[in-house]
Point group: C2
Chain length 413, copies 2
């Protein structure tokens, strides 16, 4: 087996530094909200770097940004590679930027080596993957996949009152050199390099994760209604304590769901009590359940189990209960051929590789519904992400980009 061309690791690391300077935070992280002035600077820099190498720059109505490298037959659907450039408010240097700049490195490596591909290869930088400035996240890839904007998207405003349509229009206008293109369109495959944002690769000493898919996520909102009463005068037998019921439910879930299934994830990240006074028995408790599993059938089974556990606990505590779904994203399975290519490319370079599921959302989730897609993960220190201390070793960065480059060439044929 022969290996493809080696990427230029120094160039890639320098690019990561240059982009990390746009919206840099004092603590070494990045604050580059989607469609912000900083995001526009990062887009402009990416477009300039692409133009300098002769790539064509496009953007669609969702401000998804494309750099197209020409091929023998430019009318063929492209092979898409990329990620996103926006960050969390106190985000790290690698989340999104790594995949986007590694894709640029792939295009430049092909250029450096004079490699001509049969069909075009395009870098894509998706708009608003994070969703922290405007909800929902993975906005650009969802709009691309649907070929249309979702109902009500014009109403989204950020915490300062800036509107999504205004910020989108200003961002598009800030890059007049980019040619407009329609939303969506066919593609031969989609490949995305990303940091794991979890601890598994690091713990197992793996350098590359060949991502098999993305867990399904279902959010449940549980409301327990009891009766407000005086903490001092109300004996146990007279209590209809919404908090005692909620706690019994959550404790049981924590003790059963994850211990029974290593692939299950259950998190209670929000809980509010009413009225919320130290000396008042709560009359209402509302809490969230974030439930994830690679299997949609298992998520269904768990929801059924949770719903019946909630109503039993509520009844035995003299309370009423309501469980409603507040979000539901089905699991995505990536393309088996692409996963195999990622594994093979890692093997050729002797990079320790493991198959794994992604616990986090990515733009690839929505792309996988349209066509063949896969992801490549690299470790991040301590599994830390969405954090200014997010860190990836230089050799891990270079290994990930190399596998992206090799896989891209393998898929492009």
């Amino acid at each position: 087996m022969t290996c493809g061309p080696a990427i230029n690791g120094h160039r890639l690391l320098a690019r990561l530094d240059a982009f990390a300077a746009i919206g840099a935070t004092p603590a070494g992280g990045v604050n580059r909200p989607t469609l912000s002035v900083e995001d526009r600077k990062a887009r402009a820099l990416l477009a300039n770097l692409g133009t300098a190498r002769g790539f064509t720059v496009f953007q669609d109505a969702a401000a998804n940004l494309f750099l197209k490298r020409a091929s023998t037959d430019n009318d063929r659907p492209p092979l898409l590679i990329g990620s996103h450039l926006d960050s969390q408010p106190t985000g790290g240097r690698f989340d999104g930027a790594l995949g986007t700049l590694a894709a640029l490195e792939v295009l430049e490596t092909l250029e450096d080596n004079g490699i001509v591909t049969a069909g075009p290869i395009e870098l894509v930088a998706w708009t608003n993957e994070e969703g922290s400035r405007f909800s929902p996240g993975a906005f650009g890839s969802q709009v691309y996949a649907a070929g249309a904007f979702p109902a009500g998207w014009q109403d989204a405003v950020d915490s300062n009152g800036a509107s999504l349509p205004d910020e989108l229009a200003a961002t598009l206008k800030a890059l007049p050199e980019a040619a407009e293109r329609p939303l969506g369109g066919p593609f031969t495959a989609y490949l995305e390099l990303h940091i794991e944002q979890g601890p598994l690769l690091e713990r197992q000493g793996a350098l590359i994760g060949a991502v098999e898919g993305i867990q399904g996520t279902r959010w449940l909102e549980v409301t327990i209604t009891g009766q407000v009463a005086h903490a001092g005068t109300t004996p146990l037998v007279d209590r209809r304590d919404a908090m005692a019921v909620a706690v019994a439910i959550i404790a049981q879930l924590q003790a059963t769901v994850m211990p029974a299934d290593v692939n299950a994830r259950l998190t209670v990240g929000r809980l509010t009590l009413t009225p919320g006074a130290v000396n008042v028995i709560p009359g209402e408790v509302v809490f969230s359940i974030d439930l994830r599993h690679p299997s949609g059938a298992e998520i269904d089974r768990l929801e059924t189990e949770i719903t019946s556990m909630v109503s039993e606990a509520a009844e035995s505590g003299g309370c009423q209960a309501l469980v409603r779904r507040s979000m539901d994203v089905a699991p995505a399975r990536f393309d088996e051929r692409l996963i195999g290519i990622v594994e093979d490319m890692a093997k050729r370079r002797s990079f320790p590789c493991r198959r794994m599921f992604s616990g986090a959302f990515h733009d690839a989730l929505f792309m996988a519904r349209l066509g063949p897609a896969a992801m490549i993960f690299v470790p991040c220190r301590g599994g830390l992400s969405h954090n200014e201390a997010e860190y990836v070793e230089p050799h891990q960065i270079i290994a990930g980009a190399q596998v992206l480059c090799d896989a891209t060439l393998e898929v492009a044929g």
Copy 2:
């Protein structure tokens, strides 16, 4: 055994109506915050009613209001009877008003019957028992008991920015006919009639509660510190989930403390999670524990047990824990002779009576530290209080006031 003079039930019920009109809410409750314009109206009405019957009106620097009925020897320390006139924002017609107006009814009944007592009897209406406008509650009785204002009291402001010293001064000024008297002073005994604010008397068909004391209350604030992490990417083994630890602790406390001891009360009325996002494992959870028991030693034992349970649970969940006391009020034991008198008086009238502890605070808690004190409870419908729907049957009101009158005469000798 002979009974003392019968009180005038019609007059008492009419007085309750008249005071309930001051700060009346559309839902039939009362909103008469301490030291407010409505509170001043209620004080003025009480002073006028007292003056009309020849009682002397005093107020001290804490705006505690006294109506003194003269006796053979006016220099003797008085027998104090009373309660408070302020209410919760959505309070009921009886909490405080019943005990104050029943005390007025006692003084008027003595007057109607030309009864001369050896020492003076004084009605007292304590300032700010509720504590909902200005913290802390039982302010007037605490200042009376200490003979001084607590440090920092001048800094208290209500939710509209009005200051306690300003509102106190304006309230004192609004009743110029009241003579000033120094804080505190000796008294022979203190008797207070109040609604139970709990369900026990009603459930047992009792008309009178001979209150033996007031439960001790200790507030603990528990802080669990774990690590913020991604709900999707973090497997169980890597979680330091502050919420899972908090919930395990609370569930264990709910399952053990009250079921094991009918006299114990444990309530978790507040809980906050940080950062509080559906898809983020909480890094910090802070929750309150309101712990009550008639025995101070038992409260100590429970606190020790809770503290060690908390640190074990935190350790096994990879978290840190901190338990701190945020309030501690020792139990009060009322005077055995006075409790016996209340029981005897109920028995003479053939009112079903039971001994009980108070689950709620009262001004009597602080008076019991200074001298002989006791309380008389009457039932309230469904145990409901601090609620506009608070309700006491007319025959229960009259029975309570009658026992207060009989006990007052018995103590006065």
